[in-house]
């Protein structure tokens, strides 16, 4: 970084898992139908970066304007992240399946058709 300058390093962090993603009912991640592998995921994420950041800015403004105190806003922000981190959007060979995970609970107790476990 040259002296006296501000520099921004843009990054995309990515994940990919090919093949069976479940322990019982056989399903794979839905994203494998549209991405051939992690390099393609990372390339796409950087190419669409402006759109993703625009959505993040919309969510930030939405919660900032909500009639909630800071503690409530903190809980919503934390809970949303945790929820997404424990979800699986899968493909069973014929349709999309949305799964909410809880540790220690078998998968199929939480299998819901897409839309049955929506957060918003």
């Amino acid at each position: 970084m040259p002296a006296g300058q501000t520099v921004t390093l843009d990054l995309a962090l990515g994940f990919y898992r090919q093949g069976k993603a479940t322990f019982n009912r056989e399903m794979s991640y839905f994203y494998t139908r549209h991405f051939t592998g992690l390099p393609q995921v990372l390339e796409y994420a950087l190419s669409e970066r402006a759109r993703y950041l625009a959505i993040a800015a919309e969510r930030d403004a939405e919660l900032a304007q909500a009639p909630l105190n800071d503690e409530q806003k903190f809980l919503i922000a934390h809970a949303t992240r945790s929820y997404y981190g424990s979800t699986q959007w899968l493909w069973d060979g014929s349709r999309s399946v949305w799964v909410g995970q809880r540790r220690g609970i078998p998968h199929d107790e939480h299998v819901r058709p897409h839309g049955g476990h929506a957060f918003f």
Binding site: M1, P2, L13, L38, A56, R59, D60, D70, H114
Partner: protein, 220 residues
Amino acid sequence: MKPENPSFHAHHAPMGALASFTCGSARRCWRNGPRVDGAFPGAIVVGYQTPDGALHRLPFFESQAKSEADRYRGESGGDAKADDAHIGTVEREFQWATDRMSLPEMDFTVFTPCGSLPDPESASTADLRFARCPSVPAQVTFRNTTSEDWRGFFGLGIEQRWSLLGPAAGAGLVGAMSQDTIGFASNTPGAETFIDFSIEEALAPDSVRGIFCSGKSPGC
């Protein structure tokens, strides 16, 4: 909002990938992985290096007394390692979809661009692809107000072996991945990839390895 205590872990997860880039707690390792029961513990290093070789980085790591490189050195002694400098107070801005951890000279921001999901029965292929991309956007902004040049860095330190992204990622991208399951990339001009035994060794003033694919610490 700015939490009174900025040291806490938070998930940063794409929708429906059962994967999370988890970080934010000082002196704790991060977890990041494509399965909840298979997460990778390890360090995340974000910061900058001044000309004296000192590392100024966010405190998301645990100092390692030993390096895997020691196994290969025998009694010949170790290579030089970059040392940590004292850093200023970490501040955090935790919004619904933007988590920003800052030092006076830099910001590390991780985004969670969440929203409604398109109906898989009727949505276009393009919309579904956009919604289900298993990726998390992040950025590091460095404010070098000094008269010296710095080297900024972002790196991971997990018990995996890493390789370069390769031509499949397209032109202009740098980054690394581990067995096509977890990785990172940047298209910022001037960014370069490094892979070494540790971040401290990768950024040592006399480091010559550059890209050492038996190392477990990639970065750019």
